[in-house]
């Protein structure tokens, strides 16, 4: 117990505007978690993530492995088959879910504090002793294949898939995170066991906990839950890559009345020193909702779209800036040419002092809005850990944002924006698109 308490003293930092501080809890066994202790409601929320455990690490012929795994972890573990495991979750009112992103694999758990010991034990079993039985595997396979078919009905998904396939012809980012029909069909129990062994390791693990639990109570639970995971694994890193940006507009034929365009170019990564001024610039250009130039020009002035936006997509191996717009087929070319023109205008002239001030004010002032519920706070903790930021990041970020000048914004705009490389994929009735209007 002494060691635990010593570890607790290492770092205690306030999350801005949150009554309780972030405590860094290191367990006797060497598992670390960030904790916001809050006894207002009798519940505990856990957010966890494995770095590099996402779809980008799936074998080329098993695209969708991480996604299938995300559906299988609560479908039987240890001595409990699928029905017994689900029944236990239900009886205890524990909600547990997992999801696969391109670069990471994440999980969430929410439990009443009365059941927290058993909830953590169920989480341990899901991660360390998943069964991957045949019945739930076939059931989940069918569910994920169904989801792929549904995505094929959605023009945004189709355009996005076409764009990523074109940007990353040789890299896993070119494959859909949700997998392919061939990949999901090929996943077997042995693949899933290998997946769990190689991706759920302590060196990849990140944990955020919020709620009715003290650091001294959490520390032994961390060992009990995650201590059984392997320390590390030889999972090969995914190679860094540069997106193949042709600057062209690709098309996907679909019988829909509204064409949907997805577009991207290269951008700074999360650790790039340009990150924050770039965020200010993108807020003005396309990430600021009704305060953005793209919304002003495409939606407000011309009524060409319901939604138009663009912002950073900081993929680990190829950071991008990406955006979307949906416009009636005959006028999609007009929306695309406005977006290209605004891109060039920002690159050449930057943003006005007033725009920069408003963007800074939003980006700093909106930070506390992520703290509305225990799961939301736990997710914020995990996100900070994922990007290797300190617990007092939100306070520090407000100060860093305050120091950004219009000259910084003009500099990052000129450095990063490449209108000639901005590449579009549009799904819709291609014959009626008038893309030559660009």
């Amino acid at each position: 117990m002494k060691r635990i308490l010593l570890a607790l003293l290492l770092l205690i930092a306030p999350l801005p505007a949150l009554a309780a501080p972030v405590q860094v809890v290191a367990s006797p066994g060497g598992v670390t978690a960030w904790l916001v202790e809050d006894h207002a409601n009798p519940l505990v929320a856990v957010s966890l993530l494995f770095r590099g455990g996402g779809a980008a690490a799936d074998p080329a012929d098993k695209a969708g492995l991480a996604t299938v795994a995300s559906g299988m972890l609560d479908e039987g573990a240890a001595e409990m088959d699928s029905r017994a495991f689900q029944d236990r979750l239900d009886a205890l009112n524990v909600s547990m879910s997992f999801s696969a992103a391109r670069d990471s694999f994440s999980g969430e758990m929410l439990t009443l504090s009365a059941h927290r010991a058993e909830a953590f034990a169920l989480l341990r079993d899901a991660l360390t002793r998943p069964r991957f039985d045949a019945e739930p595997l076939e059931r989940m396979r069918a569910a994920f294949l169904t989801r792929l078919r549904r995505q094929q009905e959605n023009p945004g998904s189709r355009a996005s898939q076409a764009l990523f396939a074109a940007l990353f012809p040789q890299h896993p980012y070119g494959r859909p995170t949700a997998g392919t029909v061939e990949g999901i069909s090929a996943v077997g129990a042995a693949d899933l066991h290998a997946f769990a062994r190689s991706r759920f390791t302590r060196d990849r693990l990140i944990v955020g906990v919020v709620g009715d639990i003290s650091a001294a109570e959490l520390a032994p639970l961390l060992d009990a839950t995650f201590g059984g995971l392997p320390a590390t694994s030889p999972l090969p890193p995914v190679a860094e890559t540069a997106p193949a940006l042709s600057g062209k507009t690709l098309t996907v034929e679909m019988p829909v009345p509204q064409a949907v365009a997805i577009f991207a170019q290269a951008g700074p990564g999360r650790a790039d020193p340009d990150w924050l001024p770039f965020q200010v610039m993108m807020y003005v250009l396309g990430d600021g909702g009704f305060s953005s130039r793209l919304t002003a020009e495409v939606r407000e002035k011309r009524g060409l779209a319901y939604g138009v936006d663009a912002g950073s997509l900081p993929l680990a191996d190829a950071p991008l800036v990406a955006g979307s717009v949906g416009t009636q087929t005959a006028k999609i070319g007009e929306s695309i040419s406005i977006i290209r023109a605004e891109w060039e205008k920002m690159r050449a002239h930057g943003a006005t002092a007033e725009e920069v001030e408003k963007a800074k004010s939003f980006l700093a002032g909106s930070l506390p809005l992520r703290l509305n519920s225990s799961p939301a706070i736990a997710g914020t903790l995990t996100a900070l850990l994922y990007y290797r930021l300190p617990p007092d990041e939100l306070d520090r970020r407000a100060a860093e944002i305050a120091a950004i000048t219009p000259a910084d914004v003009a500099r990052v705009a000129a450095k990063w924006l490449t209108p000639d490389k901005l590449t579009f994929a549009v799904a819709g009735e291609t014959a009626k698109m008038h893309l030559d209007a660009q």
Binding site: A17, L18, A19, D38, A40, N41, P42, L43, R83, Q86, D90, A91, N93, L110, L112, R139, A142, A143, T146, R149, R150, E153, P155, G156, S160, M254, P255, V256, P257, Q258, V260, I262, G289, F290, S291, T295, E300, K301, G303, L304, A305, Y306, G307, G311, A322, G323, S324, G326, Q328, K358, S361, F362, L363, G365, L367, P368, L369, L371, N372, S373
Partner: protein
Amino acid sequence: MPLRMPLRPFICAALFAAVLPRAALAKVFDPAVFTLANGLTVVVVENHRAPIVSHMVWYKTGAADEPPGKTGLAHLLEHLMFKGTPKVPAGEFSKIVAARGGIDNAMTSRDFTAYYQRIAAQHLPLVMRLEADRMAHLKLAEADFESEREVVREERRQRVENEPSAMLSERLSMALWMNHPYARPIGGFDSEIRGLTRADALAFHKRWYAPDNAILLVAGDVTPAWVKELAEKTFGAIPRAGTPKRVRPTPEAPPADIRIAFSSPLVRQAAWRRTQIAPSCATADARTGAAFETLSDILGGGATSRLYRKLVLADKLAVGVSAYYRGMALGPGSFSVAATPAQGVSVETIDAAVATEISAIAEHGVTAEELARARERMLAARVFARDDLFAAPQALAEALAVGCSISTVENFAEDAAALSPADVQAAARALTGPYAQGILTPEAQR
């Protein structure tokens, strides 16, 4: 993929079900509720964890209150509320909120239209001034009206015409509700949206947007006394309008089962659903509502529900199945079951299997253990709801906006705990009558 939440959506009440699965719970929020002299109802939920606030104004009007031939008007007006007043120029509302770190949006349903801002608590006086200003002083330039009407048409294309399942829902509602205003699509028909005028919007605003036809909901780092003081200074200055009380007609009961089949070359995955008219908090007592909510939970509330265990786990007929009861409505409610057929399984087989499960409860009731589990889930949901200061407290305002009471939400778990298996059985019996089926199939399968 950076497809964010679309701006200013119109919603159906089902969206709240997604946020708050077992929405209503006993003594959940323990709100302070009071009424200003001009009739504005104010609901305050204190939550001091972070110095933030959720500020919402709910109007007791929605798509079901539109004049004939003017579908889409309530939703278009929701968009136009951002188009300015004498004090706040068009398009500035959201920018003023954003420049202080806040976010804002709005939503339209059949029975209500709601506007919200989420922002640091210190800016509550500002957002209350802004919201009160546009309640009383909406000003619309013709050019802004026309461009926003085009935006709303794009929203319909994106959310309905591009989505076969949304097209099906629209047609299914029309078939089910027939002569009732709930038959109208919330976003409107394109042909009718095109005909809407600036004068229509201003008239709808004048008729419905008034303090005595609205609910103010403030949740977060505030005290009721502070909210009252601010509300009196802002909304309190707006005169009562004497807005007429809304009455929804009684729908014609479907004489027989209705079947709407929709296929398109866009559809890759078949889908099936059934929906029927059910009691609501406005047409039945709290116990009845709790019984339908409990039935929907036992029948189709997740991986341990009867329908999932039978159709998905045991018989492999479906890939997914769920049940949904919509009890918060000024008119009647509805009860729906949706399923995704497994490859090669016909929708007729699904339909029959679901009917068999409903009949089983109608004939034999539910077990004491099922009822006890459902109660536990509702008690737990109460704790989880209290933890969230953004989405969860909305159930309070929604209840008031559809003419029901705060106790519909606050006492829900108690009402559910008092149920007997016979109450749930009675709810299932009520579902054995005619219903409307919606079927979506790939064109090739037809």
